[in-house]
């Protein structure tokens, strides 16, 4: 549910310009009157983050937390457009986070917690990954009855080509035009392998359904509306499919992108020290355990990547900036749409 909260902005600060970005939800975790407040702008739903915020307030009593949820592009617009002052910016859109950091919207922060992060999980001491999520394929068991489950994209292409009648109109994937995450997954796929374009062509021929969120795709697979859902966030899938034998979660073995959820302390922060405090808590062992167990977002762990060679974390490097370029984006989306949407 989205609602335009121009009014809220006016209430928050009557004198300043109203924020020209859309928020989905805002919740204040109170800590008594007059308590300092850390403002977090996030793309992660409040329910998922709430246990972490509560634990943070237990560890640091007397700090209120204002948790604002917005879409990835709105989060980017809010910060890059100096629309509102937030202390901590949490997003799953690595490319946009990278763009913010590269363009100087992030503050440097060094602590024992940030130093403990592996190299690939931080950039310039400004951008820090706090969760790693494989991007997976979900297959419905009843729908694939009698077929071999695909292990690679090449398998998947063969499967789709050989059984067009079974999959026509029954494949779901992100619409990168509408979803930042979907755009990131598609561009990373394209970067990793040429099979992506072949797969897109094949899927395009099977009237795919396009989504702007992982949750709906998983639900549709469970409901039997979809036989396959391609590029779904692993954490959501694992949570939703727990104890459900009707769908199976597949990490494709040619490569499986691993999304890094990341946080940065905003240049415009009013309480950057509180933002840093919350960030350190997120990266601490306690915070990581909570993120892993309660929020269901896998913690940063180089060991799990090392044990599964097909998992490739999307690197926090300037390469991410390429697909943020408007010309590049335009071009990519044109090609993707041409391949995927036939009618």
């Amino acid at each position: 549910m989205r609602r335009l909260v121009l009014a809220l902005g006016l209430i928050l600060s009557c004198a300043t310009v109203a924020p020209a970005f859309e928020i989905e939800e805002e919740r204040v975790f109170d800590a008594g009157s007059g308590a300092p407040e850390v403002r977090i702008l996030s793309t992660t739903d409040t329910e998922i983050f709430a246990p972490l915020v509560v634990a943070f307030q237990m560890a640091n009593p007397g700090i209120a937390v204002r948790y604002t949820v917005a879409s990835t592009t709105e989060v980017y617009k809010a910060i890059a457009g100096h629309e509102a002052a937030f202390d901590l910016v949490v997003s799953s859109a690595m490319d946009l986070q990278m763009k913010l950091a590269n363009d100087g919207y992030a503050r440097e922060h060094r602590s024992a917690e940030t130093a403990a992060l592996p190299d690939w999980a931080r950039w310039r001491d400004q951008l820090f990954a706090f969760a790693q999520e494989p991007v997976v394929l979900i297959a419905s068991r009843p729908e694939l009855e009698g077929l071999t489950l695909p292990r690679t994209r090449a398998d998947l292409i063969t499967l789709l080509r050989d059984n067009p009648e079974r999959f026509d109109g029954r494949i779901g994937t992100y619409d990168p035009n509408r979803s930042g995450a979907g755009y990131l997954f598609a561009t990373q796929d394209a970067r990793q392998s040429d099979t992506f374009w072949r797969l897109t062509e094949v899927m395009g021929g099977l009237s795919p359904k396009l989504y702007d969120g992982s949750g709906a795709m998983i639900t549709d697979v469970q409901a039997g509306k979809l036989a396959l859902a391609y590029n779904v966030l692993g954490s959501y899938a694992a949570a939703q499919l727990a104890g459900d034998p009707s769908a199976v979660l597949i990490e494709l073995e040619d490569f499986t992108n691993v999304l890094l959820r990341s946080a940065l302390i905003s240049r415009d922060a009013t309480r950057p020290e509180l933002g840093a405090l919350f960030l350190d808590f997120m990266l601490s062992d306690e915070g990581q355990t909570l993120i892993d167990r309660r929020a269901g977002l896998p913690r940063i762990d180089p060991a799990t990547l090392a044990s599964a060679g097909h998992r490739r974390p999307i690197r926090l490097d300037p390469g991410l900036l390429v697909f943020v370029d408007p010309l590049k984006r335009q071009r990519f989306l044109r090609e993707w749409t041409a391949a995927m949407v036939r009618r």
């Binding site: 100087g104 950039w123 310039r124 690197r315 490097d317 300037p318 390469g319 390429v322 370029d325």
Partner: protein, 466 residues
């Protein structure tokens, strides 16, 4: 040991070490600076190469078409910029003067672009120093060429970090270099100055009469010094020889005419009947005696002074020497009825000394004793060994019953041309005791005068044996 004090103009060793250390410090600093510079330019060249490749990679992907230029930035173009560090990346693509994508305010090159290679420049952008590569390509749009500029910039923190790291290593190397050189310079200074020390020791160890030239091998740098030293020794040796010759000549030239004069005066005295003339002659003879004694003592003193520096040492039996000299004084003592009480050991006392000096000393002691003794007085001459097992001192004691010292101090009387306050009536030059004292000192011994119990004076000369 007698020591010469002179103004020191500093230590060669310190100067040498200081100069070496300064040199090494300068070299270390130069090393640090050159490594820093070389590393800086090497790293910049490498970074430029990567930046240039990224820029060209973008330029290579430019495609002309009917409706415009297609810009397709390859992922690797920026990804490779992240390979060496975590630098911020900025880019700008301009088609026919219009920025179509990227950072619109990224600075342009001042020099004209052209050619296939990118132009590199450094500018300040977004409050950071940014290294920028710019390249130009001409792309056909329709049938007209469009001018496309690709500009890619990158902050330099990775480069600065690498240069700082290398410079730190160079600094550590320089410090290590300096420490090793410090130790080596100490050793070098020591070994360089070793010949000087050796020469100093060799010259310092020489005996008093060793005036041979220095002949030990020395480094060529010290050769002029040794040559000068040898020339100086030769001059000194010559001067000493001339002094000795002069003393001998003077003794001869003064003593002989005085003896002749005295003989002539005696003859005239015997032949002259005139009492007044005889009285004059006697006075004259006494004066001549006085002069002869003075001259003798002056020559003795000169000889002693000379021989103190130029001793000829030989083994001397002191017992025999004393006995001989006492015997020589027999006639002079007999004239005044003075007798000697000799107390000499039976065994010979042998010591290494200069015979002439010892004779001179003993003769002067006895001469004084005889001179100041009353008529019919007795002089005791004792010679004894002192110290454990006779290894220590030999002591010659000459005591008279003369007029004593009247409280005048021993050290005063042994001064040159000093005489006691109570001896104006006796002929004397005031050099006798000086000679004795100088002989004592030359042999490392001691001389003192003491009041004798019951009147008179005791002269006490002690000399170390060996």
């Amino acid at each position: 040991m007698k020591r010469l004090w002179f103004a020191s103009s500093g230590s060669i060793r310190q100067r040498l070490i200081l100069q070496l250390l300064v040199l090494v410090a300068v070299l270390s600093w130069v090393l640090y600076l050159s490594v820093k510079t070389v590393a800086g330019s090497a790293v910049e060249t490498t970074q430029d190469a990567i930046l240039g490749s990224a820029t060209i990679a973008i330029a290579e992907e430019l495609r002309g078409g009917e409706d415009g230029v297609a810009v397709d930035i390859p992922y690797t173009a920026f990804s490779m910029l992240g390979a060496t560090g975590e630098d911020r990346v900025f880019y700008r693509i301009i088609i026919d003067g219009v920025t179509v994508t990227g950072y619109e305010d990224l600075p342009l090159a001042e020099e004209p672009l052209g050619g296939l290679s990118p132009v590199f420049y450094t500018r300040s952008y977004q409050s950071e120093t940014v290294r920028i590569a710019a390249v130009e390509r001409s792309v056909l749009v329709g049938n007209k060429p469009a001018r496309v500029e690709v500009i890619v910039g990158q902050t330099r923190s990775a480069q600065d970090a690498i240069v700082a790291q290398m410079a730190n290593r160079a600094a550590a190397l320089g410090l290590g270099f300096f420490a090793i050189a410090a130790v080596l310079s100490l050793l070098t200074a020591r070994s360089v100055l070793q010949p000087v020390r050796n020469l100093t020791e060799a010259v310092g160890r020489r005996g008093p009469q060793d005036l041979r030239p220095v002949e030990r091998p020395v480094p060529s740098e010290l050769a002029p010094l040794v040559t000068a030293l040898n020339q100086f020794i030769a001059r000194l040796s010559g001067a000493l020889t001339r002094t000795e010759t002069f003393i001998a000549e003077a003794a001869h030239h003064i003593r002989t005419p005085l003896a002749t004069l005295r003989a002539q005066a005696e003859i005239t005295l015997r032949q002259s009947p005139d009492e007044a003339t005889r009285a004059s002659l006697r006075a004259m003879i006494r004066s001549v005696d006085d002069s002869a004694r003075s001259v003798g003592q002056l020559l003795d003193h000169a000889a002693v002074v000379y021989r103190t520096d130029q001793r000829t040492e030989e083994e001397i039996d002191l017992v025999a020497l004393t006995r001989d000299i006492v015997a020589a004084f027999g006639p002079a003592a007999d004239l005044r009825d003075i007798g000697f009480d000799l107390s000499l050991p039976d065994a010979p006392i042998v010591m290494t000394a200069d015979r002439l000096l010892l004779e001179s000393a003993i003769r002067n002691l006895l001469d004084n004793a005889v001179k100041y003794s009353a008529l019919e007085g007795r002089i005791s001459v004792g010679l004894a060994l002192e110290g454990e097992g006779g290894a220590g001192l030999v002591r010659l004691k000459v005591c008279d019953r003369g007029r004593g010292l009247s409280g005048t101090r021993s050290s005063t009387l042994t001064g040159r041309f000093r005489r006691g306050s109570n001896v104006a009536d006796v002929v004397g030059s005031g050099l006798g005791l000086t000679i004795v004292r100088e002989v004592a000192i030359a042999h490392g011994g001691d001389f003192r005068l003491t009041e004798r119990d019951g009147g008179g004076t005791c002269a006490d000369l002690s000399l170390p044996l060996g």
